[in-house]
C-alpha cells in the first residue's frame, strides 16, 4: 500500500493553505506533526478527497485518485471531535460502514463489529448510545468505526486532542500497538510533541502549509534540521538565545565556546561552516529546558547570570523561569522539587554540547556538537517569518 502526494497545492481566499506538498507514504503509521494552523487538517481533507487541491496529484497504489470522489476512495477519517451517529448504538455505529459497503454477510458484519470493538476495548458497551459514553469511549467508538472496514488510507486528525490528559495517555498506548504493522497507510496528526515521540514512527513535520522535514522522529529530535522542526518536537518549548559566530567561536551574552563542526558538513560555501574563519554571522542558539542546570557547571560549561522570575514545582520536576541580561526568557527544567525565591539572582549553566546552532532566521542547523556530524539527512530551506 502506498500513498503518494505530488506537488499538492491549495489556496483559499488569497492565503496559501498547502504549498507544494510532495510525500511518499507506505503502509503502517506516519505521524504528521505541526503547530495549530500548520495545514495538518487541510492536508488530511485533501488526502480524503473532501477538498480538491488546486494543483498536484494524489495516487494510491499507483492509481491517480485526485479527481475521484470521496465516496469512491478507500479512506476512513477520525476527527478531533468525537463524531458518531447519535441515534445509533455503538454496535450500529461500528457496523454502519460495513452495512453501506454491502460486501459482507450479516454474520460477517457481526463478527467484524465485535472484533473491532474488542480491539478498542469497548466490547461491553455495544448496546449503548454515544451520549451515554465518556469522551474516551466515544472516541474509541469513532476509531472502531474507522477500523471496521479495511481501507487503503486511514486518517486520524488529532484524535486525542479533545480528551482528558490521562485518557490521552492511555489511548495513546493502545493506538500505538494497534497501528504498528497495519496494512493500511495510517496518517496520524498531532500538535503534541510527546504524542509524536511516543509513536516513534516515520514523521512529517508540517508548518505554514509546507513540509518542513520528513524522517524518523528520534533522529529529528536529536538533530533537528531546522528550528521549526526542533520547536515542533519540544515540550516544554525550546529556549532561544541570540549568538554570533566569529573567528571559530560562538559568542552568546558575553560568554563563548569553540564553534563545533558544521552540521551537515559544509560543502562549498565557506560561510556555512561556523568553524571556518570568516565574517561574523548572527546565529540562533537553542537549548531544551532539561539541559539548563543551576549551580555546578562542569569544565567548558557556559554560565549565564540570571534573575529568577518564577518557579513551578510539579513534584517530578521544577520549571524555573529565568531572565537573562534583563530581557531574555530562559526556562530550566530541574529534576525533583527545588525551591527558589523569585527576584533573586542565580547562574544558569548550559553545556555547549546541548546547544543547537541555527542560522540567523532558524532556517538551518549549522552545528550541534553533541551529535556526530555525519548525516545525510537533507534539510529544507524554511523562512521562519514568512
Amino acid at each position: 500500500m502506498a500513498l503518494i502526494l505530488d506537488g499538492v497545492r491549495l489556496r483559499r481566499r488569497g492565503e496559501i493553505w498547502l504549498d507544494d506538498i510532495s510525500l511518499e507514504l507506505s503502509s503502517g503509521m506516519t505521524m504528521l506533526v505541526g503547530p495549530m494552523s500548520a495545514g495538518k487538517t487541510t492536508l488530511m481533507r485533501v488526502v480524503a478527497g473532501l477538498l480538491p487541491p488546486d494543483a498536484g496529484r494524489i495516487t494510491v497504489n499507483g492509481t491517480d485518485v485526485t479527481s475521484v470522489s470521496v465516496r469512491k476512495r478507500s479512506v476512513a477519517f477520525v476527527y478531533q471531535q468525537f463524531i458518531n451517529y447519535p441515534s445509533l448504538s455503538v454496535y450500529e455505529n461500528i457496523a454502519s460502514p460495513l452495512r453501506l459497503a454491502r460486501d459482507l454477510p450479516r454474520a460477517g458484519i457481526d463478527r467484524r463489529v465485535r472484533e473491532v470493538a474488542e480491539l478498542m476495548g469497548i466490547g461491553d458497551l455495544l448496546g449503548r448510545r454515544p451520549a451515554e459514553l465518556s469522551g474516551g469511549q466515544q472516541q474509541r467508538t469513532a476509531i472502531a468505526r474507522a477500523l471496521a472496514r479495511p481501507v487503503d488510507v486511514l486518517l486520524l486528525d488529532e484524535p486525542l486532542a479533545n480528551l482528558d490528559f490521562k485518557l490521552r495517555e492511555q489511548l495513546r498506548a493502545d493506538l500505538r500497538s494497534m497501528f504498528q504493522g497495519s496494512s493500511s497507510v495510517v496518517l496520524y496528526s498531532t500538535a503534541d510533541p510527546a504524542e509524536a515521540l511516543t509513536f516513534a514512527a516515520p514523521t512529517v513535520v508540517l508548518g505554514e502549509g509546507r513540509v518542513r522535514h520528513v524522517g524518523e522522529v528520534a533522529e529529528m529530535y536529536a538533530r533537528p534540521p531546522t528550528l521549526a522542526v526542533a520547536a515542533a518536537l519540544s515540550d516544554p518549548p525550546l529556549n532561544l538565545l541570540p549568538g554570533v559566530v566569529r573567528a571559530g567561536r560562538v559568542e552568546c551574552l558575553g560568554t563563548s565556546f569553540p564553534a563545533p563542526p558544521a552540521h551537515p558538513p559544509a560543502h562549498s560555501p565557506a560561510q556555512d561552516d561556523p568553524a571556518q574563519d570568516g565574517p561574523a554571522q548572527d546565529v540562533v542558539l537553542a537549548v531544551r529546558p532539561h539541559h539548563v542546570t543551576i549551580g555546578g557547571g562542569g569544565p567548558g560549561t557556559l554560565a549565564f547570570p540570571a534573575e529568577i522570575r518564577l518557579a513551578e514545582v510539579t513534584g517530578s520536576a521544577t520549571f524555573l523561569h529565568l531572565l537573562l541580561a534583563g530581557r531574555l526568557h530562559l526556562v530550566a527544567q530541574l529534576p525533583g522539587t527545588q525551591l527558589f525565591v523569585p527576584g533573586e539572582s542565580t547562574t544558569a549553566f548550559v553545556d555547549p554540547a546541548h546547544l543547537f546552532v541555527f542560522d540567523e532566521n532558524g532556517g538551518r542547523l549549522l552545528a550541534a556538537s553533541a551529535v556526530s556530524a555525519v548525516s545525510t539527512a537533507s534539510t529544507a530551506e524554511v523562512d521562519l517569518h514568512g
Binding site: 506537488g7 496559501i16 510532495s22 488546486d54 509546507r210 513540509v211
Partner: protein, 311 residues
C-alpha cells in the same frame, strides 16, 4: 510543477508564495452535478421564465382580443408610471411595508429574547408563537374580517362598546389601515420571532454567564451579546418581510377589498383589478414588470446594506 517526487524537501528556492493561482492545473471536476440541477432549471423555466416572458410580451402590446393586437413599445410603461392611482398605491404600499418592518422586526426580536431558553416552557412558547403561522392566509383574512367587525366581531365590538372608541373598518380608512396592519403583525411577527429565537439559542451559555459576572444589565446583554449574533437572521427576516408585505394581497382583498375608497388599495390589489377586473393586459404587464423590478432593487439594497454593516 515538479515531476519528481521528493520526500524531504519542499524546494524552498522556488518561493511559491507569489505564484498565481494554479487552478489551470486542476483536474477535471465531476460534472455530473449539473444533472442534479436540471429538474430545477426545467421547473423554473415553466413556472417563472415562460410566464415572465409572456408578461414581457403583453407589456409591449395593446391587446384588444387574442387575435387583434398591436405593438406599442414602451407606451404602457410610460402610462403606468404617470398614472396617479398607481403612484398613490405605490406610496401606500411603501408606507405599509415600512410600518410592517418597524413593528415586526423589533417585536419579533423582543418576543424571541423573552422566550425561555430551556425547560418545559420552551415547547409551550414555541407552539403558541408559531400558531398564527399555521393558519392559511385567506383564513387569516376571514378570521380578522369577522373579529374586527364592529357589530358582531369580538375585537371590533370590544373596542366600540368597552373602550368606547368609534371603530369601523368598513367606513373609516384609518381603521381599515390599522386592521390590515395589525393583522399582518399578528400573522407574521412569529416568523421573525422564530428566526431570531433559533439564532439566540445558538449562543453558548458562557456568554450569558460572563455578562452576569461583568454586571451587564439586560439591555447591555442584549446589545453586546445577542444583537451581534442576530445580524444574519435579521437580514433574512427583513428581506422576507419586506418582499412579503410589499406584495400583500390576500388579506386586504379578503378583509377590506381595497377600501374604503382606496385606503387599502395596495399595488397588488390594484394590479389584480387592472389585470383581472378590467382585463387590461398591456398596462398590467408593464405594471407587473415595474413592480417586480422595485422589489428586486429594494431587496438588493437591504441585503447589501445589512451585510456590509457587519464588516
Amino acid at each position: 510543477m515538479t515531476d519528481q517526487i521528493t520526500d524531504a524537501t519542499d524546494g524552498g528556492a522556488a518561493a511559491p508564495r507569489d505564484e498565481p493561482d494554479r487552478r489551470a492545473d486542476a483536474k477535471p471536476r465531476n460534472n455530473r452535478a449539473w444533472l442534479l440541477v436540471l429538474p430545477v432549471v426545467v421547473s423554473v423555466t415553466f413556472t417563472a421564465l415562460i410566464p415572465l416572458m409572456t408578461v414581457v410580451n403583453y407589456s409591449v402590446q395593446d391587446i384588444f382580443s387574442p387575435n387583434d393586437r398591436i405593438f406599442v413599445g414602451l407606451e404602457w410603461f410610460r402610462a403606468v408610471t404617470r398614472d396617479p392611482e398607481i403612484r398613490a398605491a405605490f406610496l401606500r404600499t411603501l408606507l405599509f411595508s415600512a410600518q410592517v418592518l418597524l413593528i415586526e422586526i423589533p417585536l419579533g426580536v423582543a418576543i424571541a429574547v423573552a422566550m425561555p431558553r430551556r425547560g418545559f416552557w420552551v415547547s409551550v412558547a414555541l407552539v403558541v408563537v408559531a400558531l398564527p403561522l399555521l393558519i392559511p392566509w385567506n383564513v387569516v383574512g376571514t378570521i380578522w374580517q369577522i373579529f374586527a367587525r364592529a357589530d358582531i366581531g369580538l375585537g371590533g365590538w370590544t373596542i366600540n362598546h368597552v373602550l368606547g372608541i368609534d371603530f369601523n373598518y368598513t367606513l373609516d380608512s384609518t381603521d381599515a389601515w390599522l386592521t390590515v396592519l395589525i393583522m399582518d403583525v399578528w400573522h407574521w411577527t412569529p416568523l421573525v420571532a422564530l428566526l431570531a429565537y433559533a439564532a439566540l439559542r445558538s449562543i453558548p451559555d458562557p456568554y450569558f454567564q460572563a455578562a452576569q459576572i461583568d454586571g451587564a444589565s439586560a439591555w447591555a446583554t442584549f446589545r453586546r451579546i445577542q444583537l451581534p449574533r442576530l445580524r444574519g437572521v435579521l437580514t433574512i427576516a427583513i428581506l422576507l418581510r419586506f418582499m412579503d408585505s410589499f406584495m400583500i394581497y390576500t388579506e386586504p382583498f379578503v378583509v377590506t377589498g381595497g377600501g374604503p375608497g382606496n385606503a387599502t388599495s395596495f399595488l397588488s390589489v390594484l394590479l389584480s383589478k387592472i389585470a383581472v377586473g378590467q382585463f387590461d393586459l398591456g398596462p398590467a404587464g408593464a405594471f407587473s414588470l415595474l413592480y417586480f423590478l422595485i422589489v428586486q432593487i429594494v431587496s438588493y439594497v437591504f441585503f447589501t446594506v445589512l451585510t456590509r454593516t457587519g464588516r
